[in-house]
Symmetry: C2
Subunit: 500 residues, 2 copies
């Protein structure tokens, strides 16, 4: 019976977290090869679930088959990719300083590596039933780091989450590992998770969702007697800056590209471009005109659930209701309550600067085009923006080179800076940073995508004066695995050679 | 006039932080060589201040000349060592993933590096007027990361802080850099700093001091609309675990070593060993007896200021006043109000487990020896301990190998694990981790000592699809500086070779 509880009371929480803690005492000491083996076994299991789980997810999320198949493939790739990174070991940040007995005072032997934090609580996300949920990026990174995982399933797709959880349990059995390395719980409300966040055995939290929910979790975690890290990815309006020369060259092409990005997945990606800034001009008029044409031909699509569709309609109406906001285009309207209709509006830069509501995310296929008075106003807006997962610049090389202050201001507001492309589409690779300044995430220093995400669930530990035979393998002199280590300030994949 | 303000009101705070922000717009774009050049110039300046600043610090802190000269030398070493690390560039964590146009969908070119957070607020520490104050580790790391710095001088050594601040200003002038890269302010109370912590331009805080003060700063920072990271190092009781075989071999030698560590600098190091655990036995009796002999011969020493001496006397009295706590030895008593007298007490393991007050730090030359009933009780205590900067194990290799659960529990509670040594003495090197689980620090993932401390003041930023000529130098294909970079998952100091 996977469905552990329907509401989490304090007693259930204690039982869950003590089980996770006990399993961690075993798992934290397992070699990297066993952690990677578990991750690869989970990946194989997800693949072998075939079409049935896709049908379950389609029913629960209204997402189309191709998208869900792609997301499952991405989730499998993540597990395998992070398993490789786990074994490569760069994330352990191995540092060795060799001793010097002749120095006064004598210099001790000190060696440092990353060690796992402990049991990690992961909240499933509504918009990614695979890649950011039960066996998603947070779970994969925590397992790689040597942490045990408690997943709170997202209530919008409980059956999908159950099927993935079963797959993880089977992988644990197949690998001969304690089953409590992974625990799966159901809870209806965010508040039900509070006891898990504040439990003394919980050492970190991963979350993807709204700012309201993410901030609550962050506040609970920091209000603890012993605060714990929260990695909450809370969405973003992903501003796009259209520079004049580029826009006058390519207005039509950019409009087509952005029409696709704004409406991709019914606008339900955290990297959806919600604000588009241009300097008021005939080129910007052309852009708005072309974008409106594309948007007006876009059919409405079903959103994840009726609650999200209602929130989209309400937030969009509120934005359109602000003074001086003008509706530019709407897509074809839908027949069902949960359909979301693509919509574009425009506003001038002064109004945008003075109305904070217009800076907020409207989760769905809505974008606001801001007519800036001039380049100076665009710069001022960039400086005033809240933190973002991504910012995008559409500009010629000359324009980029000639606007260093604007580029610096934009770079300061985001975690990923896209040039002449769209922010949607998050590549899973080591160089990806997915986590920008607050409020796009609670900790801009860590990424929720890419193998550097493993570092979220680990911390450094120094060993001083330990004999070689008692050190963890990764810090021993011989280094048979060829880990990259910094020895006396020099990177090396070789052994340690001690003098004397 | 360096003494900016005597109390920080909102207007002064605004002025200070806007100046720091404006200077950051310049400094953040400076090449690593200029940042390192500034740090080395500050180091030269500190050296050239000669004996006068040592006399000033002696007057203000009551610390002896040799200690202050050693601390100044360490501060100079830190500046030079972190300058070298800044230029070596490993802290930028450069990652490059090359594009693949043939993949469907096409794989974009993505490159990632660390960028500075922005203006950093540093609180000077009372117990380290040089190494953790005005030009100390936090300032050095922030400057290396490309951040500007606002230092709130510690009110216990304002003249020392002024002299160091003048030295930093002169270095800025000598390097042709904007003087507002460094701003020095005086404020009497912790509360005076609140406006600085909560100012929108402040991006991070460094602090070394008490738990009460550190937690206040942490709560202010996390209560902001946009929370910012706080790196507060808040002390530790640095538990020592004496394993039976080792103790029976070396009781006398260990007692001598610990007498020195407990009383070093009148017990005012954050790595002072405040709790010593042993299994009740005749070997432990011998240890206590020898330790008592050494302690009883120790002369009282002047503490940093009268407030600290009073707090020491009060906290020690409270500890001695707990039921079943037995005084074992006191050192020679002092003649002055600010003298601290070395003191050792003992208690049994059951009492220790049931009385949280005995787990708390008594800042000064006081240690409590806990007679554990058996090895199982020692393990239980290790699991229950709060987070610590360091833990130390005194044991034979055989004992370490045969107590994996105890070793794992101890490792989980600290940032540095010392074997057969003393925790006092913090080596400044890359493998040093100085920052343990809460409450020893607010963020166990970052170190306040060693060049990895630079990473506290930076965050990753990804560049997607930027042409080579517009990328920051460190991410360009050519890599003339030979930075260590991970290119397509492989470490390399060479250039990027693009296909096609």
């Amino acid at each position: 019976m996977i469905r552990e509880t329907d509401s989490i009371d304090m007693q259930a929480t204690d039982r869950i977290m003590e089980r996770s803690w006990a399993a961690w005492q075993d798992y934290r000491l397992r070699p990297l090869s066993e952690r990677a083996g578990l991750m690869r076994e989970i990946a194989r299991g997800l693949d072998s679930l075939g079409d049935e789980i896709i049908r379950t997810a389609m029913r629960e999320t209204n997402l189309p088959e191709a998208r869900l198949k792609g997301e499952r493939a991405r989730t499998i790739f993540q597990l395998n990719n992070y398993a490789d990174a786990c074994e490569r070991g760069d994330w352990m940040e191995l540092r060795i300083d060799t001793p010097d007995d002749k120095r006064i005072p004598a210099k001790p032997d000190i060696r440092k590596m990353m060690v796992p934090l402990g049991p990690v609580l992961v909240y499933g996300a509504s918009n990614f039933p695979f890649a950011y949920s039960t066996a998603g990026g947070d779970t994969a990174c925590a397992l790689a780091a040597g942490c045990t995982v408690v997943v709170k399933a997202h209530p919008a797709h409980p059956d999908t989450s159950d099927a993935v959880a079963t797959c993880i349990r089977q992988a644990l059995v197949a690998c001969g590992l304690p089953e409590d390395i992974f625990i799966h719980v159901h809870a209806e409300s965010l508040e039900d998770g509070r006891a898990l966040v504040t439990h003394p055995r919980t050492r970190a939290v991963g979350f993807t969702g709204s700012h309201t929910a993410g901030r609550s979790i962050f506040d609970w975690a920091n209000g603890r007697k012993d605060p714990i890290p929260v990695f909450a990815e809370m969405g973003s309006v992903n501003p796009v800056f259209l520079l004049p020369e580029k826009l006058s060259e390519d207005a039509q092409e950019i409009a087509k590209m952005y029409s696709g990005s704004i409406t991709l997945g019914v606008g339900q990606f955290c990297t959806n471009p919600g604000l588009i800034f241009g300097v008021d001009s005939s080129a910007l008029d052309h852009f708005i005109q072309h974008l409106s044409e594309w948007i007006s031909k876009t059919p409405a699509g079903p959103m994840l659930h009726a609650g999200i569709a209602r929130a989209y309609a309400a937030k969009m109406a509120a934005a359109l209701d602000q003074s001086d906001v003008k509706l530019a285009a709407t897509g074809l309207s839908g027949t069902e309550e949960l359909h979301g209709t693509a919509t574009i509006a425009t506003v001038d830069g002064d109004t945008f600067l003075s109305n904070p509501l217009l800076h907020q995310e409207v989760f769905g296929p809505f974008s606001l085009v801001i007519r800036c008075r001039d380049a100076a106003q665009m710069l001022r807006i960039a400086v005033e923006l809240e933190g973002q997962l991504t910012c995008t610049v559409m500009g010629t090389n000359d324009e980029i080179a000639h606007h260093p202050a604007l580029m610096a201001a934009i770079a300061d507001r985001c975690g990923r800076l896209v040039l002449n492309g769209v922010p949607t589409g998050v590549e899973v690779c080591l160089s990806m940073h997915h986590g920008g300044p607050y409020p796009s995430s609670t900790d801009a220093r860590f990424s929720s995508v890419g193998a550097d995400g493993i570092k979220r669930f680990a911390r450094p530990l120094s060993y001083q004066q330990w004999p070689d035979e008692l050190l963890p393998d990764a810090l021993k002199n011989a280094n048979p695995m060829g880990y990259l280590r910094v020895i006396d300030n020099e990177a090396s994949t070789g052994p340690v050679t001690l003098l004397g």
